[in-house]
């Protein structure tokens, strides 16, 4: 009888001791471990006729569902990965790289990384931008989500308010056993190798510098230079030289927000490439957009209701070499819409788009609805 209380106390003490140890351990190790996250966009796309009635069947799509999985080995070493489901059935690895901090504000990264070109390729979590879909400048000129395998340096200069990123990566695959991946309509988009059994004939370089020293502003400048890859060994006519440059700016002031981007790509050797592959890729690709938004709700509330308008022009045949310029590839999208943010990481979106091109006097009308999540 006498034993019961002490044993019970001892048992409790051990329990609490182990609890204390765990707590201490957790605290000591609070800077390492598994990090989970993710983002998703679920879209509805509807094509409308002149009277704004549906003129074809609509499409509902779990466009992207991405799970973020990171592991922090210690304060210096982190592994970052994103597994992506596109349209439910396509499985990709969107990012997978090891980040090794050589200084507090500088790290070396190696693996499958995002090419630092423009705004949306890097900041692509759906609640961070307006519009159900990413911009078409970021789809046709910058082939977002553009990611390739390589080694890079990523850092921040706090005093100068500068972020920078440089990397050496494999290029897009322009020619694959007789198939031309670069086209007049899609530019270099279909050449993205996405880290899957990548063919390397040349290494390319990419970089980005952004400046955040002016209150409310964020300016960026990106570049990419190199050669596309080919399945042929040392075959010049199956490769194109790629030089892409872009500038962008984002602005926030109270309820007002704006952003813009200008991206230019010069492709060399396209005459030989098109002749060899019977493709029609342009020698110069140009795209830009400008967007302004206003938060209609009181900023002191947790919700934001942003009304926005965007104008974008993207032309994958800005210039051509040895082929006929197709005016249908000079495209303009005008978009107005609403982003209703329930939270920083959860939003409903709706937008209305008028799309046109230089080859036709007719506009097409589109209505999009979306669910955007980021956690």
């Amino acid at each position: 009888m006498n034993l019961k209380l002490p044993i019970f106390s001892l048992f409790l003490t051990i329990t609490v001791l182990s609890h204390a140890q765990n707590t201490a351990e957790n605290i000591l190790s609070s800077n390492k471990g598994i990090v989970l996250g993710g983002y998703a966009q679920i879209d509805g796309n509807f094509n409308l006729d002149d009277d704004n009635k549906m003129n074809s069947n609509g499409k509902l799509d779990v466009h992207r569902f991405v799970t973020f999985l990171g592991y922090k080995f210690n304060d210096r070493i982190t592994f970052v990965s994103e597994i992506e489901y596109e349209h439910v059935v396509e499985l990709y690895v969107e990012q997978a790289f090891l980040d090794y901090k050589i200084k507090d504000n500088m790290s070396v990264q190696a693996g499958l990384m995002l090419i630092p070109m423009g705004i949306q390729n890097l900041y692509h979590e759906p609640p961070t931008y307006n519009g159900v879909e990413r911009t078409n400048v970021d789809k046709y000129i910058i082939p977002t989500t553009w990611r390739e395998i390589g080694v890079g340096l990523n850092g921040r200069l706090d005093e100068q308010s500068i972020n920078y990123q440089f990397m050496v990566v494999n290029g897009p695959l322009g020619y694959d056993n007789g198939t031309a991946n670069f086209t007049g309509k899609n530019g270099i988009r279909s050449g993205r190798q996405k880290g899957a059994e990548v063919i390397v004939s040349d290494f390319d370089v990419a970089g980005r510098v952004s400046y955040f020293g002016m209150l409310g502003w964020n300016f960026g400048a990106s570049f990419y230079n190199g050669k596309s890859e080919t399945s042929e060994f040392e075959a010049d006519s199956t490769q194109v030289g790629i030089t892409m440059m872009g500038i962008d700016a984002r602005y926030n002031n109270g309820p007002f927000q704006a952003r813009g981007q200008y991206t230019l790509a010069n492709l060399e050797n396209t005459a030989e490439y098109n002749a060899k592959t019977s493709s029609d890729v342009g020698s110069k690709l140009l795209g830009y957009y400008i967007e302004a938004g206003y938060n209609i709700l009181n900023r002191k509330s947790d919700n934001d209701l942003i009304a926005f308008a965007r104008y974008e022009n993207y032309n994958t045949h800005e210039e051509t070499d040895g082929i006929t310029t197709n005016l249908a590839y000079d495209r303009v999208d005008r978009t107005v819409g609403l982003t209703y943010k329930l939270n920083k990481g959860a939003a409903f979106k709706a937008d209305y788009q008028l799309r046109s091109n230089e080859a036709s006097s007719k506009e097409t009308k589109h209505f999009n609805l979306g669910v955007a999540v980021w956690f």
Binding site: T23, D99, D104, Y123, K300
Partner: protein, 168 residues
């Protein structure tokens, strides 16, 4: 052995005492974050530069990372080292308060994640000194860290004010 201890009537009391200590310890002492040497050095540097006079700093009983800054036997301010989450990591910042618990200096000491480091911008941080938290500008590309900083500073200020009241 157990039997002999059990015979002593005080055992349960001791056990209870140990229990109590172990329950209280994690929440008060163990639960505190241990800043890295780098963060500590940067904090010390910032405090020295800010006060620019012979000061003595000593931890207050609320948290060993919060200090009372004393110059010539009078309190000239408080300096609080605090950690807050960014999207996938933590960052360390220093907040300096006047003796009246007004925020007079805010600095990010260590920011670890590759995204969101824009919150270390001094101009942006200055807003905390003279604006309502709701009026602080958003930063494109650093949404999560901006919100975290706003929350962390608000809660820290409240904690310090409450602590000051409790000391009266």
């Amino acid at each position: 052995m157990i039997k002999s201890i059990a015979k002593q009537r005080v055992t349960p009391v001791i056990m209870a005492g140990v229990l109590l200590c172990l329950y209280v310890l994690p929440s008060s002492v163990l639960a505190q974050w241990n800043p890295s040497n780098k963060t500590l050095a940067k904090a010390q540097n910032t405090i020295d530069q800010f006060f620019d006079e012979d000061i003595v700093k000593s931890s207050i009983n609320l948290n060993s990372n919060y200090y009372e800054i004393i110059h010539l036997d009078s309190v000239v301010g408080y300096a609080c080292l605090q950690q807050a989450p960014s999207k996938h990591d933590n960052f360390d910042f220093l907040a300096i308060y006047s003796p009246q618990m007004e925020l007079i200096k805010l600095r990010v000491l260590t920011y670890r994640e590759n995204y969101g480091g824009e919150i270390a911008n001094k101009r942006w941080l200055k807003q905390f000194l003279n604006r309502q938290v709701d009026d602080i500008q958003a930063i494109s590309g650093a949404t999560i860290s901006v919100e975290s900083m706003k929350l962390a500073v608000t809660s820290l200020t409240q904690k310090m004010k409450n602590w000051q009241k409790s000391q009266l």
